[in-house]
Amino acid sequence: DVKVTQSSRYLVKRTGEKVFLECVQDMDHENMFWYRQDPGLGLRLIYFSYDVKMKEKGDIPEGYSVSREKKERFSLILESASTNQTSMYLCASSLSWGSDGYTFGSGTRLTVV
């Protein structure tokens, strides 16, 4: 089974800090994604990457950046954390263009105080 691992389950950071969320997948998937989940808003796409060093903005990229230096690793960066970035962050990966869907990590619950 594909495994997507997010480095932290829970994080508490201060306003203004630079925050790194790490995600690693072990099945050579081309595509990787970062979503955030908020009550009443569902899953919203922040950024995605379809190859090493390639990235594209999702629906809500403001305040975030990403890095994909290796195929298996996709990092989400909060340049200057703010309280409205308190959320559940979910990383996912997928192999192909078809209906295989995504495999998600367990999520990181980030609280910015």
């Binding site: 997507v4 389950r9 595509n31 994604f33 979503y35 989940q37 009443g40 808003l41 569902g42 899953l43 796409l45 995605f48 379809y50 999702g58 979910l90 996912a92 997928s94 192909s96 263009w97 078809g98 209906s99 869907g101 995504y102 495999t103 998600f104 990590g105 367990s106 999520g107 619950r109």
Partner: protein, 114 residues
């Protein structure tokens, strides 16, 4: 502009009865649809999918129905079990070159009461 809509934020059913979760979409070019299930503090897990050329797909207790004329799909769970209590998301891929990018609905919280 939300392309995939789940209009019911929550649903409560009795154990053993049928759960029906609904999803509407606006883009008739979607090639397939997927349902994901999410427990608190866990990532979503893939549940079942349906191709746009079919009108039904069944997997054990889970059946997804697709009504293309109405741009509507539904997930049926029969019989419902307390362990089915979770948030359910429907999702569809982008069209053309972005069909690897999924758009999710806002989710429906299903509670199955013992």
């Amino acid at each position: 502009d939300q392309q995939v809509k789940q209009n019911s934020p929550s649903l409560s059913v009795q154990e053993g009865r049928i759960s029906i979760l609904n999803c509407d979409y606006t883009n008739s070019m979607f090639d397939y649809f997927l349902w994901y299930k999410k427990y608190p503090a866990e990532g979503p897990t893939f549940l079942i999918s349906i191709s746009s050329i079919k009108d039904k797909n069944e997997d054990g207790r889970f059946t997804v129905f697709l009504n293309k004329s109405a741009k509507h799909l539904s997930l049926h769970i029969v019989p419902s079990q307390p362990g089915d209590s979770a948030v359910y998301f429907c999702a569809a891929p982008g069209s053309g070159g972005s069909n690897y990018k999924l758009t999710f609905g806002k989710g429906t919280l299903l509670t199955v009461n013992p």
